[in-house]
Amino acid sequence: MHIPDGFLSTPVWAGSALAAVPAVGYCLRRTQNYFETSRTPLLGVMGAFVFAAQMIHFPLGVGTSGHLAGAALLTATLGPSAATVVMTAILVVQALVFQDGGVLALGANVLNLAVVGVWVAYLPLRGSRKAGARTRRAAAFLGAWMSLMAVALLASAELSFSKVAPPVSLFTSMLAIHALLGIAEGLITTAGLAAMERLDPAFVYAGELPGR
């Protein structure tokens, strides 16, 4: 979900940018301190994969389409701090090179997808790190779904504050569509993680050192 320019009022896009900059800065610093360097090859590979996957729209069957957001997948493989920075890089490239998502709305898109989307996905993933494979997969599905719902909720709030539409209609429509999209997001995320676990069972869900 990339908010274009024109949807958000000036206080909303400016406020979102002001909130996003320190959040991404914090994650950048945290990655410098805590990222497992054995995973550095994945920084580029996962960023490129999520970028490519976001270009593929699949029909939802209700006159709309969706695409993988990828926040949960990045979080599970890179840890939340690195995932935030990689997702920010994706959004910046999409806005500045491909004109996908507004330049003024970039702060809001980063705040929604790269900060809130990633860290909400991290909650169930972190809770299931030492659980069995089934629980971890359920947590990945839940993380992906919750992530997309949180992004939709925050975007709805930003649009409501910008007074583009009645809040009740906005929240209802956005959350209903994203509840459906979240199921697809969860299935894709779970399938990706299952494939990774098969290749290296010790790999997934350890992207960031615990308790720091």
Binding site: V45, G47, A52, T64, Q99
Partner: protein, 95 residues
């Protein structure tokens, strides 16, 4: 680690190929909501100031080449950023 990188590298190539072949479909979730609630017109309609707007390179007449080259550019940029950033990370936290 290498096998996982190869897996996702391969999947990236497959997704790019899919992107080249697929015709863009229905509007996405936000566009649909904006259309249904009547605020779609608020989106600023900018001229294509980027030669890669809408994930299609302007230099090619063939839609396939236009999409493929734009997709490769994005993938290359993000890979490059990842490698550059990865090299700048301290080497003491091997997991």
């Amino acid at each position: 680690m290498k096998r996982i990188a190869v897996l996702f590298g391969g999947m990236t190539v497959a997704v790019l190929a899919l992107r080249v072949l697929l015709v863009p479909g229905a509007p996405d979730a936000l566009e649909s909501v904006a259309g249904a609630l009547g605020f779609a017109d608020l989106a600023v309609e900018e001229e294509a100031w980027s030669p890669f707007a809408d994930y299609e390179t302007r230099f090619f007449e063939s839609v396939w080449f236009a999409r493929l080259s734009a997709g490769l550019l994005g993938v290359g940029l993000l890979c490059g950023l990842g490698v550059f950033w990865g090299r700048s990370l301290p080497r003491s936290k091997a997991g």
